[in-house]
């Protein structure tokens, strides 16, 4: 078999094994379930309120937005933090010491991250159906939109996660990516429409993928009448595709360069030095 194909297949199997490992690890399961549970509780209490200017449930509007946010988080921040952690424990050096190991590693990671992101979406979607009304779940076009937004969202955010994960060497600095993203969530209309914000703030929010992922998910799951409360009064599918596509192109251009640079610099003494630092942190 051709070595590249062998590595691709090994990478897919790697994703499968990591999925099994992560779903049989208590700490990981807690990390997946806790935010989901917190979101569901939030939506439960929001179910009585309505989106301003309509009689539509605010909880039902929050659900799709939160799904979009979850994709952005799963794609970007979780991948970035895994890369940083696995550089520290030597997983990446191991991949580097294996023929075509980096390719296998990345394919495994992308498989793992996308599956976890999609499963988390289902995890939030299904329980919410029992107490939220008005979502368009019977429609085929809704699922079609959900699918393309989710896939494009992952393609836009995973490479960005790889870039951040490669640039950050110390796990402590993950906050540098985490905090601005938290701010963006507040800006991006995930929990409340941003129509009332000043125009420049709306403009900032619309540069980043989180806003568009939220919008795309709302367009899939909310009735068409709800488009009226969005900026511009429409679902703006074309713009969603354009902005997410632009981030995908940027990420896919940058990621290989940055990943290669990071991989080139990995060596035993760097891993040892990081371990020393980690020991000092703990001790």
């Amino acid at each position: 078999m051709n070595p590249t194909m062998a590595a691709v297949r090994a990478g897919l199997r790697r994703g499968g094994i990591e999925l099994r490992n992560t779903f049989s690890n208590g700490q990981d399961l807690w990390n997946y379930f806790f935010p989901t549970a917190a979101l569901l509780v939030t939506m439960f209490f929001m179910r009585g309120s309505t989106v301003p200017g309509t009689s539509f449930s605010l909880g039902a509007r929050t659900l799709p937005s939160a799904l979009g946010m979850g994709l952005a988080f799963g794609g970007m921040l979780v991948l970035a933090s895994q890369l940083v952690m696995e550089r520290e424990d030597g997983t990446l050096l191991r991949a580097k010491a294996t023929p075509n190991g980096m390719l296998g590693y990345l394919i495994g990671k992308v498989t793992l991250m996308s599956t976890v992101a999609l499963l988390s979406m289902l995890l939030q979607l299904v329980p919410a159906l029992f107490f939220l009304d008005g979502l368009r779940l019977a429609s085929v076009s809704a699922w079609f939109t959900l699918l393309w937004v989710a896939v494009l969202g992952l393609v836009a955010t995973l490479p960005l996660g790889a870039v951040f994960g490669s640039l950050i060497e110390n796990p402590r600095n993950l906050g540098l990516v985490m905090l601005p993203n938290m701010g963006l969530i507040a800006l991006s209309g995930i929990f409340y429409p941003i129509n009332g914000y000043p125009g420049w703030l709306q403009g900032v929010a619309q540069v980043f993928p989180i806003y568009w992922l939220g919008l795309g998910m709302r367009s899939a799951l909310l009735p068409d009448s709800m488009a009226a409360v969005e900026l511009g009064g429409s679902w703006r599918h074309l713009e969603t595709f354009g902005v997410l596509g632009a981030w995908a192109v940027l990420g896919l251009t940058l990621a290989p360069v940055v990943l290669r640079r990071m991989a080139r610099r990995e060596s035993g003494s760097r891993v040892a030095a990081r371990r020393e630092r980690a020991m000092q942190r703990v001790g």
Binding site: M1, A6, A10, R13, I17, R94, P99, N100, S269
Partner: protein, 324 residues
């Protein structure tokens, strides 16, 4: 070879040799303005076991990382399995095995899953002579981890973890294996088993092995040849026996005669004893001849080098001073 050899002295070019697994000539490494390696020469043939010794900071890690292709050298010619490690491709990578000290990876994986998974990457690189990868059950048995096959890596003991690292290092049946202080944290039984494994790899599979260690006893047991790195160059290269002989040529002889103790150091212990016994015969009691051990040799060489380097440094400082 003397310890006061000046950097920059050109070595005579060697003829190229197909059988050389490692062929390093005049390897230099500089970090910023600090020279870490100035002119390392070393070679290894197929199936040879080399121990690289040296005090901390002598450049062992840098040398090995350059050979592994993890670090780019500043100058010099390096051939590892006939390939420049700075340009080694994946096919070349598949012929190497690397065992480092600082791996704590794949903690959530099961031992068997990890070995099978990493082995998959080597399958396309099997040749008529070398079947790759090493079958997992066979490999588990070889490193003594059969009982832990289904255990999570994070739950292994320190010694078991090291054995797993060795298993990962050899899963692709490497032609050249790098072992960085492989037996740190082993109990004596595990250490002996590991030594047997190294012998088996070198003798049966003709694996060339380059190991670093601070344990001189281990180096003596395992290595065909010992290289001592001091002050950024190889200050000694030879079999353990040759090294002990060359450095401290003097043997120490102790005996008592008529209740009195005597100590004598000589290069020709046999001749001295012949004369001693001819002269005093039965009156010589409690005779003891002590040859220099590898440890004596190591200490002497490293001391010589370190004092030599100090002289070298003062020279350089003096030259810079006079340039101004």
């Amino acid at each position: 070879m003397t310890a006061v050899e000046l950097p920059g002295v050109a070595t005579a070019p060697h003829p190229p040799d197909e059988d050389l697994v490692l062929d390093v000539r005049d390897l230099r490494m500089r970090y910023g303005t600090v020279d870490v390696l100035h002119g390392v020469d070393l070679t290894a043939r197929r199936g040879e076991v080399l121990a690289l010794l040296g005090p901390n900071g002598a450049g062992k890690t840098t040398t090995i990382e350059i050979l592994e292709g993890f670090r780019l050298r500043s100058a010099g010619s390096v051939r590892v399995l006939g390939v420049d490690p700075g340009r080694g491709d994946e096919r070349w990578r598949a012929r190497l095995g690397v065992v480092l000290q600082s791996w704590r990876d794949h903690g959530k994986w099961r031992v068997r899953d990890l070995l099978a998974h990493l082995g998959d990457f080597y399958a396309p690189y099997a040749t008529g002579r070398i079947a790759r990868p090493w079958p997992v059950d066979d490999l588990l048995d070889t490193v003594g981890l059969t009982a832990q096959a289904d255990q999570r890596v994070a739950r292994l003991s320190g010694g078991q973890r090291r054995r797993l690292d060795v298993a990962v290092g050899i899963v692709g049946r490497p032609e050249l294996l790098f072992l960085d202080e492989p037996t740190v944290g082993f109990d004596p039984a595990a250490r002996r088993e590991f030594h047997e494994l190294v012998h088996r790899l070198a003798d049966l599979d003709e694996t060339t092995i380059l190991l670093t260690t601070h344990d001189l006893d281990e180096a003596e047991k395992l290595a065909d040849r010992i290289l001592i790195l001091g002050g950024g160059r190889i200050i000694a290269d030879g079999s353990p026996d040759e090294l002990s002989r060359r450095v401290a040529g003097d043997a120490e002889i102790r005996w008592t005669r008529d209740g009195e103790r005597f100590v004598h150091a000589t290069a020709d212990a046999t001749g001295f004893l012949r004369d001693l016994l001819r002269e005093h015969g039965d009156r010589v009691q409690e005779l003891e001849v002590r040859r220099a051990s590898l440890e004596d040799a190591y200490m002497a060489l490293v001391y010589e080098e370190e004092s030599g380097v100090r002289t070298g440094r003062t020279d350089r400082v003096w030259q810079q001073g006079s340039d101004r």
